[in-house]
Structures are given as structure tokens and as C-alpha cells.
């Protein structure tokens, strides 16, 4: 490895990190305008055209606010907790395949931060670290409602990790690899000339499981028990103010982006256009590098669609009760995931391999 390689690596990592970081302000705007749209009111429309600069105003306001540390708090953990939730949220995006590859400076550059051969496991493993931010944040606040919210939130997050993993196992069994890049590559083209080779057609139940579990993993409605305002003040981040609260919000949106990206890669063909094979697209566009750019745009568009679905669901569905929530995962989703796995294995055995 020489300096150019390292420079490319640093630039690439920074670029993709910044892309995902910039999803946060966009999502803040989408969420607020989307809520307004669904509730039939205008929403933020004063700062900039269509209120587009509202997130900037929010950020400036956040950062100039006082951030008090409560007297009962454990100072060290109280300060570390938001970082503990933000860092895993940033780390998981490393394996998202934004596109195939481009040729620059005489090198082939993958449009992915790191092509790990254990990508799916990596996402699940690093994602499971996020709950420490919740647990320590709630505990260190020195507020019993925060602690209660933290315990609830983490019970929920850990319970839904299992169906999430089981859904991913189904996809892994079908494609025979952990690498998200290889899974995305396998979804190029069409079956029978009319059906896109997407994972959702191989694993419909797996997708459904993953979709439901991802709501719970990211603490979104209808699974936002940790933040039930009526019962728990505001959940585990009650005592957080200023940008420290903003960090919890940033982490939530980054997690949403990552999980949407994983969902798109596993079940919706990653960077591939439906009905158009990559080779055909390359013939139309003519340049590998331009194709790479187009692929990134396609991937981000699919992610954006999922993000909009998350917003849409948040403002239309009421929340579950805690016991209902636990019963859904332990009594329904986990058994369903196991049955899905068994059926997948049986069908693959019956067909004698998947070709």
C-alpha cells in the first residue's frame, strides 16, 4: 500500500460517512414535514424555502443551548452515553454497498467503505452495541423514569435482535455468503425474463420479519415504548439537553439509514435498477465511472423510499403495549423466523442447490 492508496481509502471513508451524516438533517426535515402532511397542517415553513433550512436552525439552536448535568447524575457515564450510541451507529455503515466499483487513478475502487466477508454479522454485532448508550444514558441520569425507560428500551431492542438475526440467516442461506457486496451482485438481472432477481421473492417472510424487527431495533413507532411520553416523561434521554440530546437523534436516523440500506441490499437488489441488468445500463451510459455514480444514486433512492416508509408508519400507527410487544417477538416472530429457516432449507434441499 502506498500513499495514494491510503489517501483514496481515507477520502472514500470520509465521503460515505459524510453522506450518511447528511441524511440526518434531511431526515429531520422529512420527518417534520411528513408529520405535518399526514396531520394536515403546514409544518415548519419559515426558515428557507419549504422550511428546508429548518434542520440548520435546529442545529444552531441545539448547539448554543445550555447542557446541564443533573446533580444526581454519574458525570462520566452521563457524558459518554451519547457517544456510546453514536459511535456504533456510525460504524455499521462501513459495510453498506453503495455501488459496484469505479476506476480512478488506475485503481479499481469499490463503492463501499469496507468489503468484509462477515458483513451481515458485523452489522448485527456492532448494532447490538447501541443499547449501551441507552442503558448507561438512562442509568447515569439519576432519574427513575430514565432508568425505567432505559430498561424497557433495552429489553425491547435485545428481544428484537433475535428475529432480525433469524431473518438475515434466511437470506444468508439462500445466497451462501455473509458479504453484502456479493449478495448485491447476485441480484443482478431477471428471472424468467420478467421478475427482478431480488431477495424479497426468495425470502418474502424473511423480509417481513426483518422489516418489523427493524422498527423495534431503531425504537420507532409502533415500537417506541422507551419514549412513551404519557408514562415515562420522555424515556431514557429525559435529562439530556442541548446537542447531547441531538446526538441521540442523530444516532436514531443513522441507524435507520443503515438498517434501510441493509434491507435494500438483502431484499431489494441493492444498487440494481429493477428490470434493467447492469450490463445493459453500462451499454446505455457508456462509462464504468458514470455507472458507479448512477448506482449510488439508485441505492440512495431505494434507501430514501424506505426512510419515507418509516416516517409514514410512525405517524399513522399507534404504539403497542409492553406485554404485547414482547409477545409479538417471543411468541410470533422468533417461531416464524425458525419456520422460515426450516422451509428455506427444505426447499433448497428439494431443488438440490440454487442455480
Amino acid at each position: 500500500m502506498n500513499t495514494v492508496d491510503i489517501a483514496i481509502l481515507v477520502a472514500k471513508t470520509l465521503l460515505f460517512y459524510l453522506i450518511v451524516l447528511h441524511v440526518v438533517p434531511i431526515m429531520v426535515w422529512v420527518e417534520r414535514r411528513g408529520a405535518a402532511l399526514i396531520q394536515d397542517r403546514p409544518g415548519p415553513n419559515r426558515v428557507g424555502p419549504f422550511g428546508l433550512l429548518q434542520p440548520v436552525a435546529d442545529f444552531v439552536k441545539f448547539i448554543f443551548k445550555e447542557d446541564p448535568i443533573p446533580t444526581g447524575a454519574n458525570r462520566g457515564l452521563f457524558l459518554v452515553a451519547p457517544a456510546l450510541i453514536l459511535i456504533p451507529a456510525s460504524l455499521t455503515l462501513a459495510v453498506l454497498p453503495f455501488g459496484d466499483k469505479v476506476k480512478l487513478f488506475g485503481r479499481e475502487i469499490l463503492l463501499q467503505v469496507a468489503d468484509l466477508d462477515i458483513a451481515i454479522l458485523y452489522v448485527l454485532a456492532i448494532g447490538s452495541l447501541g443499547i449501551y448508550g441507552i442503558l448507561f444514558g438512562g442509568w447515569a441520569s439519576g432519574n427513575k423514569f430514565s432508568l425505567m425507560g432505559a430498561l424497557r428500551a433495552s429489553s425491547q431492542v435485545i428481544s428484537y435482535e433475535i428475529p432480525l438475526g433469524l431473518a438475515a440467516v434466511g437470506a444468508v442461506a439462500v445466497y451462501g455468503t455473509f458479504s453484502l457486496r456479493e449478495i448485491a451482485l447476485a441480484q443482478d438481472g431477471l428471472w424468467f425474463g420478467w421478475l427482478p432477481r431480488w431477495g424479497i421473492f426468495l425470502q418474502p417472510v424473511g423480509f417481513w420479519l426483518f422489516f418489523i424487527a427493524s422498527f423495534a431495533e431503531t425504537n420507532r413507532l409502533p415500537f417506541d415504548l422507551p419514549e412513551t411520553e404519557a408514562e415515562l416523561v420522555a424515556g431514557y434521554h429525559t435529562e439530556y439537553g442541548s446537542m447531547k440530546f441531538g446526538m441521540f437523534m442523530m444516532a436514531e436516523y443513522m441507524n435507520l439509514t443503515t438498517i434501510s440500506g441493509v434491507m435494500v441490499t438483502l431484499f431489494f437488489g441493492g444498487w440494481h435498477l429493477p428490470f434493467v441488468a447492469d450490463a445493459m445500463l453500462l451499454k446505455w451510459i457508456g462509462s464504468q465511472n458514470l455507472l458507479g455514480l448512477v448506482q449510488v444514486v439508485i441505492f440512495l433512492t431505494k434507501v430514501a423510499i424506505f426512510l419515507c416508509v418509516f416516517v409514514w408508519v410512525r405517524w399513522t400507527v399507534p404504539r403497542f403495549r409492553f406485554d404485547q410487544l414482547m409477545r409479538i417477538t417471543w411468541g410470533r416472530l422468533i417461531p416464524l423466523g425458525i419456520v422460515n429457516l426450516l422451509v428455506t432449507a427444505g426447499v433448497m434441499l428439494w431443488l438440490g442447490g440454487w442455480k
Binding site: 454519574n74 462520566g76 457515564l77 459518554v80 468484509l116 466477508d117 462477515i118 454479522l121 458485523y122 448485527l124 454485532a125 456492532i126 447490538s128 452495541l129 443499547i131 449501551y132 442503558l135 448507561f136 442509568w139 432508568l147 432505559a150 430498561l151 433495552s154 435485545i158 435482535e161 455473509f178
Partner: protein, 163 residues
């Protein structure tokens, strides 16, 4: 590059394990335990065992320590502040641990590591395949063991008042 990373994560792991042992507050011990295990996972990557690294993060850092933290939070904090152990005990234990560490280091450094090796480094696939072919019976026995543990833990941990 690898050496720098090894040094970095080695120091992280070791420093945090010292933190586990010497923190007065049990929750801080749990916090250091997380960092220590995370550093260990990075070291697994450095010795070319990424699968173990992921299992380490997924099970140790992501599940076992969560359980520790839950228990710490379920126990009243005032009950966790412990009486300081006597100075003589700490000193004796320190000497003991130190000398055992030296013996261990000597044993490790003198173990016959220079045996001729054959074949490729085991890959993720070969390990996985051997888990379900060569080690199939230990694996199935392990699942029965886990079943027993589930029942046992429930019997131990259920609320006797409500049950």
C-alpha cells in the same frame, strides 16, 4: 500498521481490564468490561480470526455484559459500595498474581510453537463446515446443554413471591 493497531488495542484491553478490577463503582467495572471485550474483538481480527471477533462482539459484548449491566441496575446502588479489602490481602494477591503472570509468560514463551504446519489457514467456510460435520455431536450436545440451562435459569431466577 498491524503492530500499531495491536499495541493500541492491547493497551485498551489491558487498561480496561485494570479498570474492571479497580473501579469502586460496579457499573464502571461493567463499562470497562465492555471496552475490554471490544479491544479483545479487535485483537481477534488482528490474529486473523474475524469470525471469533464477531462472535465475541455479538455474544460477549452484546449479550453477556448486557446481562451484567441489567443485574447491576436491578440491585440497589447503595448495596454495591463494598467494604475496602485489607491492605495485606491486596498486597499478597498482587504478589501472587504478578508471580503467576511471570510463570505463565515463561511457560507460553517456551512452549514449542515452532512445529511444522501444513495446509492453509482455516477459512470461515472450512471452520463452519467442520462445525456441522466433524463436530456435529458436540454441537448437538451443546444445544441440549443450552436447553437445560434455560430451564435451570428460569427455576433459579423466577420471582418466588409471584410464582
Amino acid at each position: 500498521m498491524s503492530d500499531i493497531a495491536a499495541g493500541l488495542f492491547g493497551v485498551l484491553t489491558l487498561g480496561c481490564s485494570l479498570g474492571v478490577v479497580f473501579s469502586r463503582n460496579v457499573i464502571m467495572s461493567a463499562f470497562y468490561l465492555i471496552l475490554s471485550f471490544f479491544g479483545l474483538a479487535a485483537l481477534y481480527v488482528l490474529i486473523q480470526a474475524p469470525f471469533l471477533a464477531v462472535i465475541q462482539v455479538l455474544i460477549y459484548t452484546g449479550a453477556i455484559v448486557v446481562l451484567f449491566v441489567f443485574v447491576v441496575m436491578l440491585i440497589d446502588q447503595d448495596k454495591l459500595l463494598e467494604v475496602v479489602t485489607g491492605k495485606t490481602l491486596v498486597l499478597t494477591a498482587g504478589v501472587l498474581a504478578w508471580s503467576l503472570g511471570l510463570i505463565l509468560l515463561r511457560a507460553l514463551n517456551h512452549s514449542p510453537m515452532a512445529v511444522p504446519v501444513s495446509g492453509q489457514l482455516p477459512t470461515l467456510r472450512t471452520i463452519s463446515l467442520s462445525l456441522f460435520t466433524e463436530y456435529l455431536w458436540p454441537f448437538e450436545v451443546l444445544s441440549v446443554f443450552m436447553l437445560v440451562i434455560i430451564v435451570g435459569v428460569f427455576v433459579l431466577a423466577r420471582d418466588k413471591v409471584n410464582a
